[in-house]
């Protein structure tokens, strides 16, 4: 079971974390023939609150479907950063947005603080697509699936008419991921 890799997207309802998880699972399970399970947990709020979406990827069948020893975590709010960081492995990687998470007193594992919101604002013109940028960063840093697989899964799952916008968003993520990898 050593090949089991656990991913966690955390933030607040409405940020598109579940979709990011689904796209990652789709890329791994359908486009790369790995095993993948995606789960989520959320409160009663449709918007706001803290929520998480998790993806387990493995070459073996996946039994327990939730993350318990997180390899990669994305945090897009301070609240979710604090709430969900405890299961991150010592050797795990936490990707946090520079504007949305500012208090790192609870940090575990290796911390990458990245200007995702700023890049979205500057390069996409709006913060919509932050989830896809974060997904791009995660794929680039983890290398869990190829760029091609994640792009195929992305195009299938985003609303028609928004393909180019989302492709641009994921490329921004790849770029930010590469930068941080090179600097570490």
């Amino acid at each position: 079971m050593n090949d089991r890799i656990e991913f966690r997207f955390s933030g607040s309802g409405g940020q598109g974390l579940i979709l990011a998880g689904i796209i990652l699972a789709d890329a791994a399970a359908i486009y790369e023939d790995k095993n993948a399970v995606q789960t989520q947990s959320y409160g009663p709020e449709a918007r706001g609150g803290s929520s998480k979406s998790e993806v387990i990827v493995s070459d073996s069948p996946i039994e327990y479907p939730k993350a318990t020893k997180v390899d990669y975590m994305v945090a897009l709010t301070q609240e979710s950063f604090n709430k969900y960081i405890d299961d991150v492995k010592e050797t795990g990687i936490v990707i946090a947005d520079k504007e949305l998470v500012t208090d790192f007193s609870k940090a575990r594992g290796k911390l990458y603080v990245i200007d995702m919101v700023k890049s979205a604002r500057e390069e996409l013109g709006k913060v919509l697509g932050l989830n896809i940028i974060a997904l791009g960063v995660l794929v680039e840093i983890s290398g869990i699936v190829s760029h091609e697989s994640i792009k195929n899964a992305l195009i299938k799952r985003v609303p028609s008419g928004f393909e180019d916008y989302n492709k641009k968003a994921i490329e921004i993520g790849f770029k930010l991921g590469k930068e941080i990898k090179n600097n570490n």
Binding site: A25, A29, I30, G43, I62, K66, T68
Partner: protein, 378 residues
């Protein structure tokens, strides 16, 4: 031909399985965590000539399903704890009147409103005993998204074959998680269809209590005029208070399920051949159990798993047989101890231990492994 593999949610797999099984009627009422089944069927059914209805409440949802089933529909409803509680009277009606239907319960924490977005396995006994009066029921507990699809098809088949409501008990985890599903072609699966009786209308009795064979339910509006009632009725369908009829009707409701248990039961065994400790687990808990069994084997503990897929009627014989050679049995459940009662009743020769975790979180492999270890050392 390339296999049609999709990443889908458990709830989606149930909707998909229903369509493949030939389901042409859904009536329901919105409730977390089952609503995706209704949402998906609301777009699928009208396109395939079927009917989707969002009813005014949970009771009417099952009422409409039963009305449609009497018309010959392959009908399904889906709900969760509070809704299933409200449906109980109609579950009894379906059982008494022998109307085929499929009822999905995506289990969440209870009692009452409980934990709408969090999983539990606390409706296992309700599935068996929820409605009043003596009756038998079929209930199925899938443990994966893929199994949710195939077991939904089996649920439709069993409901028609035995003219009975069939419950599918998933939970918030299986219902909402996404994983790979091999979507079969309709021609690749066995499907039992609604049929007209073999006899002409003048010879048709809607019920048969004594021959042992299940009489097909004639769809209404096809020339077979008969009466349906929730009162105890004779083979003609009309109410009766004759002691002989009451006895026959009552026995039949139990016998038609239990005398066919070998056809209805389904289970899975994992490393039980040489096991010293047996873990009996079902639904999402069986996933953690399988992992815990592997952990135990790595640590040199001979553990194995028995997983009922059909949970009602309960696989009494299998448990009783396993109990003859495995003396320690662990039953992890996301409830305060339900199916363990069946194990204790049937595994007379074993020491039975419970692991009951009700926290809104699934039971982890670590928790089960720790308990296996504790039992092994005791």
């Amino acid at each position: 031909m390339a296999k049609n593999i999709k990443l889908m949610q458990g709830n989606e797999a149930i909707a998909e399985g229903a369509i493949i099984a030939g389901c042409n009627f859904f009536a329901g009422y919105p409730i977390t965590p089952s609503s995706e089944i209704a949402e998906l069927l609301s777009s699928k059914l009208p396109k395939t000539g079927g009917v989707f209805l969002q009813m005014e409440d949970e009771i009417s949802a099952l009422g409409a399903v039963l009305g449609a089933a009497l018309g010959g529909a392959k009908a399904i409803t889906a709900s969760s704890g509070p809704g299933i509680s409200l449906k109980q009277e109609h579950i009894g009606y379906a059982s008494m009147s022998e109307i085929p239907c499929v009822i999905v319960n995506v289990m969440r924490g209870g009692p009452s409103t409980g934990l709408p977005t969090l999983p539990a396995q606390s409706d296992i006994m309700q599935a068996k005993w929820g409605t009043h009066g003596d009756h038998a029921i079929i209930a199925i507990v899938p443990s994966s998204v893929n199994e949710s699809l195939y077991e939904t098809i089996r649920a439709f088949n069993l409901s028609i074959k035995y003219r009975t409501p069939v419950l599918i008990l998933t939970d918030e985890i299986i219902g909402h998680m996404r994983e790979k599903v091999v979507v079969p072609d309709k021609s690749d699966v066995d499907i039992i269809d609604v049929k007209l009786p073999d006899v002409p209308p003048e010879e048709y009795n809607p019920y048969n209590y004594t021959s042992g064979a299940v009489t097909p339910l004639a769809p209404m509006g096809e020339g077979y005029r008969y009466h349906v009632t929730g009162l105890i009725h004779g083979e003609t369908g009309f109410p009766s208070q004759k002691t002989e009829t009451i006895k026959n009707a009552q026995n039949w409701l139990i016998d038609k399920i239990y005398k066919n248990i070998e056809d209805i039961e389904k289970f899975d065994e994992f490393q039980t051949e040489d096991a010293d400790i047996l873990v009996v687990a079902y639904g999402s808990t069986s996933r953690s159990t399988r992992q815990a069994v592997m952990m135990a084997r790595t640590a040199g503990i001979k553990a194995g798993m028995f997983r009922p897929i059909t949970i009602w009627p309960f696989p009494e014989k299998q448990i009783s047989n396993l109990s003859k050679r495995i003396k320690k049995i662990l039953v992890p459940e996301m409830n305060m101890g339900q199916i363990i009662l069946e194990i204790q009743r049937n595994a007379c020769e074993s020491q039975v231990y419970g692991l009951n975790v009700v926290t809104g979180e699934p039971i982890t492999p670590d928790q089960i492994y720790a308990k296996i270890k504790e039992i092994a050392e005791s």
